[in-house]
Every structure is written in structure tokens, then in C-alpha cells.
């Protein structure tokens, strides 16, 4: 029997399993314990696993992220939760100057086997200091692996793979996915953290996306199918290192590509993907690469403005349509 659960429950099950499986694993962050997690991911875990391993921290992102790095250096396998990617900027020094550099800077003497989880993305009317999609910034940095689980299966199994990685791994959980539910295939008990995945096969256009934009892109693909356009939807899953062979292979088949990213367009992950595809499969392209990204504004509070700032199924479908059936 396939088990049905929410993305939030999948994240919780993954954390619980990891802590029970390995005495070196613990979780720390703001309100992960008694409060149960800002997005209720860790609800109830402190009662079962105790305060030492579901560790509430004061509001000090730099210190507790840095403490995660130090604990990893001392042989632990910490999971650090940062409430949102906006708050992670308070720990940017620790992530970029320490976690990402220590292995190389020490000539391979020290590894940082640390996992940092955080929420990302807009859609809950939380305005400009809780809603941004800055994961692309982290994908810029050598030494980090950056994951964006978009499905219940990835939410359930990416954590274990991240903990097994000897290097620092960042996991971005989109806030609009926590309530999404899905089935777990009983035959699957692990996932890779290296490859993109084709979520929907199609021959006419490749739609590249990740995280919270995946459901929207799949909706767009259904709309396009009704019009006779078969879109291939690729879920990046891993934002760094990018799985270029899967992307290039798809574009070589469809000859058209739309990149959907909730991050801003300027200097972005979508720009990196477009540039990489131009470098590798330029001569396969029958149309310019299109991008559907967040508008270049701080994400606003009012619902209609917020939604207007974000990629939507209609705008994604329109971009794809424009490539496949350009207006003559």
C-alpha cells in the first residue's frame, strides 16, 4: 500500500529517522523544539527525541549556523534549521566564508558534513522579508551542494542522502509545498542528490523548474497539452551542481526551452541555466530560450500584488506557447 502524506510530514519523518539512525545527528534552530517549528515541521519531535537532539536556539543565526559547522568539524552530523532564507543572510558569513571554504582552504584536512534546511519562497503574504527565493545565491558558491525538494518523495529521502554527503548541503523547502500531499512508492527508500528528473515527458518544449514552481509548471503543461503542445517538465532537484546532461539532453530532443524560477531574473540561477544551455546545445535550439521569473520587485504583501510578482501557470504556458507557435 502506498503511503500518502504531506510534504511537511515527509520532512518530519526524514528528520526523525535520521536522528534515530545515527547518534551523531541532531537538529538545532529557532523554535524547532517546544514551538514545534515555524512551519510545524518538527512538531512533537522534542517529546520523543529530547532537548539535546531537538535543540532550540536563541535568535542568533550566525552563532548557531557556525556552531553547526563547528559541531560537524568535531564529528557530529548536525541539521541546522533556519526559519527562512531571508534570515539566513544573518548567517551568510558562516555559510559562505566557513562551511563552503574549510575543506579547500585546509588542503582537504577538514570536511564540513553539515545540513542546513530552510524555507524559501512566496505565496503566504509574508511580504519582502520572509518571501524571497535566494537559493540561487547559494548555488553560486563552490563547496556547497544545494537541494530543492519539490515532491513528497524528495522531502522524505533527500535528507538522508544530504547527511551522508561529507560536504555542506543546503536544503530549500518551499513554503507553499508544506501542505501538499503525495504518495510514497513503497519500493523506494532512497533518492539521489545528483540528478534532475523528468517529471513529465514531452516532445515540443522543455520546461525547466524546481521547488515551489514545479506544481505550477505541471499545471501549465496540462494546459498546453489541451492545446496540443507536449511539454517536458524537468525538476532540477539539485541547484548545485547542476545536472546539465539531463537538461541538455531534453533540449536536444525538444529544441525549445523555458526556465521557470521564482528568483529574480537578473544575475540568477535561470541566467546560469540559460547560459549553460547556450554553451552546450546552442545549435539544437529552434527558438530563443525564454524565462519566467519573479518580477524585479521586493515581494509585496497584498495578495493580488504578490501573485502578480510570481510565475503563474498562465505566464509559464504563454511563454512556452510563444516558443512553439510564435505569432507570425
Amino acid at each position: 500500500m502506498a503511503e500518502t502524506l504531506t510534504y511537511r510530514e515527509a520532512c518530519r519523518a526524514a528528520i526523525r529517522e535520521a536522528i534515530l539512525a545515527d547518534p551523531r545527528v541532531f537538529l538545532m534552530g529557532e523554535d524547532v523544539g517546544r514551538y514545534g517549528g515555524c512551519y510545524a515541521v518538527t512538531k512533537g519531535l522534542i517529546d520523543e527525541l529530547g532537548e539535546a537532539r531537538i535543540r532550540d536556539t536563541p535568535l542568533s543565526e550566525s552563532a548557531f549556523v557556525g556552531a553547526g559547522i563547528g559541531a560537524a568539524l568535531a564529528g557530529m552530523r548536525p541539521i541546522v534549521e533556519v526559519m527562512t532564507v531571508n534570515f539566513s543572510l544573518l548567517a551568510l558569513d558562516q555559510i559562505v566564508n566557513n562551511a563552503a571554504t574549510l575543506a579547500h582552504m585546509s588542503g582537504g584536512q577538514f570536511a564540513v558534513p553539515l545540513v542546513i534546511r530552510m524555507a524559501t519562497g512566496a505565496g503566504k503574504q509574508l511580504a519582502a522579508q520572509h518571501s524571497h527565493s535566494l537559493e540561487g545565491w547559494y548555488a553560486h558558491v563552490p563547496g556547497l551542494r544545494v537541494l530543492a525538494p519539490a515532491t513528497v518523495e524528495d522531502a522524505r529521502y533527500m535528507l538522508a542522502a544530504a547527511l551522508a554527503d561529507p560536504n555542506p548541503v543546503l536544503i530549500f523547502e518551499h513554503v507553499m509545498l508544506y501542505n501538499a500531499s503525495g504518495e510514497l512508492d513503497p519500493a523506494v527508500d532512497a533518492v539521489d542528490i545528483g540528478q534532475a528528473k523528468i517529471r513529465r515527458a514531452g516532445r515540443d518544449v522543455t520546461l525547466v523548474t524546481y521547488g515551489g514552481s514545479l506544481p505550477k509548471t505541471l499545471v501549465a503543461a496540462e494546459q498546453l497539452a489541451a492545446e496540443g503542445i507536449e511539454a517536458e517538465v524537468i525538476d532540477l532537484r539539485v541547484l548545485r551542481p547542476l545536472d546539465l546532461p539531463t537538461l541538455a539532453g531534453s533540449v536536444a530532443r525538444t529544441h525549445r526551452c523555458v526556465i521557470v524560477d521564482e528568483g529574480w531574473k537578473t544575475g540568477s540561477l535561470s541566467a546560469e541555466i540559460a547560459a549553460s544551455l547556450v554553451e552546450t546545445v546552442f545549435y539544437e535550439l529552434d527558438a530563443p530560450i525564454a524565462r519566467v521569473c519573479a518580477q524585479e520587485v521586493p515581494i509585496p504583501y497584498a495578495a493580488h500584488l504578490e501573485q502578480a510578482a510570481l510565475p503563474q501557470p498562465a505566464t509559464i504556458a504563454a511563454a512556452a506557447r510563444g516558443l512553439v507557435r510564435p505569432a507570425s
Binding site: 552563532a63 563547528g70 568535531a74 585546509s106 577538514f110
Partner: protein
């Protein structure tokens, strides 16, 4: 086993002098090699502050973790890190501690649990919280020692880290090397309260001021502090007051302080002070110190020879270690 007791016998005092002289003469050689362009990049020398690194290290065990700053040649040498491999690192050679990837500001040595040279002021404090937490959670008897300058106390990391250390009663010894200048910014121009130890005390941890020019005083304070920290009493803070004799780095013209001020401090420096005391009280005899210096010069000469004979890392290896295939054990 180190103990909290200090034995001020001839051998130990001479050992303290030797360790301070090793640092002083090593740094002198580094300055010379910088002028000869053998060493490049930023180079921050430790002259004047030797008593702090040497005094603290006397109280530590091999399994303790050390986190230092970009001015860390002294801590590395006093910890027992190979002088040859430090020098080779300064040359940017593959025989260096970090195979030429770290340089002067980022010396790492796994064998001595020396976790770097951190060049972001205040950036090492959270790491020390983490190593202490990791050791505590694994039931180890180890402590973490974090060196930082007085400039770090203005960074948020200082306050975040002291709070966490005290809150979780972590085995951390905080060593503030107060040399009165954060680069060119004088203490009294930067601090609303120049008594830094008082800030630490406000987090509910024992906090002391130590004469950082007196190696015996530093060692005594360190032994007292380490005994408390290792005994499970939580973190401890030492504000070691000293002075940096040389420029902040090799690019610093020192426009912010008088030469006379520097000379005044040099006259009461940690090495002249211990040396004079040893001579006046006849603890050392004849040419004992001269022989010591000759031995150290020979060690430095060998380190330079080792570095000179070293090889640049192959450019093909540039991206090696950006990520690792396994956690080094």
C-alpha cells in the same frame, strides 16, 4: 596530564622563553622574506603578543580544539605545529600545511586539532561554540579555545556566541587578545566600554583581565580557566592585555599611533621582561639564552630551507578539495 599547578623551575621558565623567542624570530624571518617577495598576500605578525599564545598553550591537552585568527603564526608554533610546514604554506607550496591554499591567514593542522586561522573578525567564535558542543555531546573531555582580538567584541558573533556558550555551559575558553588597536582603530575610539572583560561577565561567565605581557601570569590564568572549563563549569573568558609591536599588516604605514608609544610598549615586552627577570635572578647562567637563540635560528633556517626546496601545487590540482569524497578521520 596538565594540572592547574604551575612549576616555575629553570626548565619550565626556559621553555616559556624558548617558545616566545621561536615566535619572535620566526616573525622576523617572515618580515624579511616578505620584503624579498618570497611571501606575498597579507601577512600579520605577532610581535609583542607572544606571551598570550605561549601562556595559554601550556594549559591545554592535545585533544583540545584551537580556533585562532588571521594573526595566528604564534598560536600554531606554540601549539607544536611544524615550523617547516608553516613556512612552506607561507611560500604557497604543496608541502605546506594546506598545500598552499590557505597561506598566512589560514593555517590548519588536523594532527594538532588546530582549526584555522579565520580571517573574518569574529567569525571563529561560532565555530568554537560548535566544536565545544560537538565534544560535549560526544562526552569528550576536550575543551575549545578561541583566540580573537578586541575588535571582535563589536561584531554580533561575539555576543551571539558568548550567550550560547553560557546558556549551554559549553567547554569554551575565550581568549581576547586586546592589543589596543583593531587595525588602525584605537580601543577608546571604538568602545563605549573599554573594559572588555565586563561585557563577558554580563553573560554570566567568569571573566578576568590578565597582563598579556607576562607569560607566567597568562599561564597561571590559563590553568585556572582550563581547570574550570574542563571541570564542567561552562565557559571562561580571559582578556589578555597586550600590544602589537609591528604594523597591522605589511601594508600598514601606522599613521594612527606614535612611534614613542610603540617604543614604550616594546621596553616592557614579554620577552625582554622574562629575560631580564631570568638574568637578574640568576635562573639562567652564562650563555644559556644565546645558545637558545642559536638553536632557534637553526630551526628557522631549516624551515626556510624546507620551504625553499618545496614545490608549487600542480595547477591541475586547483579544484581538488573543493568538495571531499569522505570525511577525513
Amino acid at each position: 596530564m596538565t594540572t592547574s599547578k604551575l612549576h616555575l623551575d629553570h626548565d619550565h621558565l626556559l621553555h616559556l622563553l624558548r617558545e616566545m623567542l621561536r615566535i619572535r624570530l620566526f616573525e622576523r624571518k617572515c618580515a624579511e622574506l616578505y620584503q624579498r617577495e618570497k611571501i606575498r598576500g597579507f601577512l600579520h605578525l605577532y610581535d609583542g603578543e607572544e606571551a598570550i599564545a605561549v601562556g595559554i598553550m601550556q594549559a591545554l591537552e592535545p585533544h583540545d580544539a584551537i580556533i585562532a585568527t588571521y594573526r595566528e603564526h604564534g598560536q600554531a608554533l606554540a601549539r607544536g605545529v611544524s615550523m617547516e610546514r608553516i613556512m612552506a604554506e607561507l611560500y604557497g607550496h604543496v608541502e605546506g600545511l594546506c598545500r598552499g591554499r590557505g597561506g598566512s591567514m589560514h593555517l590548519f593542522d588536523r594532527a594538532h586539532r588546530f582549526l584555522g586561522g579565520n580571517a573574518i573578525v569574529g567569525g571563529g567564535l561560532p565555530l568554537a561554540i560548535g566544536t565545544a558542543l560537538g565534544d560535549q555531546m560526544q562526552g569528550r573531555d576536550s575543551i575549545s579555545v578561541c583566540f580573537f582580538g578586541e575588535g571582535a567584541v563589536d561584531e554580533g558573533e561575539f555576543h551571539e556566541s558568548l550567550n550560547l556558550a553560557a546558556l549551554w555551559r559549553l567547554p569554551v575558553l575565550f581568549v581576547c587578545e586586546n592589543n589596543l588597536y583593531s587595525m588602525g582603530m584605537a580601543l577608546e575610539r571604538a568602545e563605549s566600554n573599554i573594559d572588555i572583560h565586563e561585557r563577558a561577565a554580563s553573560y554570566g561567565m567568569p571573566s578576568e583581565v590578565v597582563d598579556g605581557m607576562d607569560v607566567v601570569a597568562v599561564e597561571l590564568a590559563a590553568r585556572r580557566a582550563v581547570a574550570a572549563v574542563r571541570g564542567g563549569k561552562g565557559p571562561y573568558f580571559l582578556e589578555c592585555r597586550g600590544y602589537r609591536f609591528r604594523a597591522h599588516s605589511m601594508f600598514d604605514a601606522q599613521l594612527y599611533r606614535d612611534k614613542a608609544e610603540v617604543e614604550q610598549w616594546k621596553a616592557k615586552g614579554p620577552i625582554v621582561r622574562l629575560r631580564k627577570w631570568l638574568e637578574d635572578s640568576h635562573v639562567v647562567v652564562d650563555d644559556e639564552i644565546e645558545r637558545l637563540e642559536a638553536e632557534i635560528e637553526a630551526e628557522i633556517g631549516a624551515a626556510v630551507d624546507f620551504a625553499e626546496a618545496g614545490t608549487p601545487e600542480a595547477v591541475a590540482e586547483l579544484a581538488r578539495f573543493v568538495t571531499l569524497d569522505a570525511v577525513p578521520e
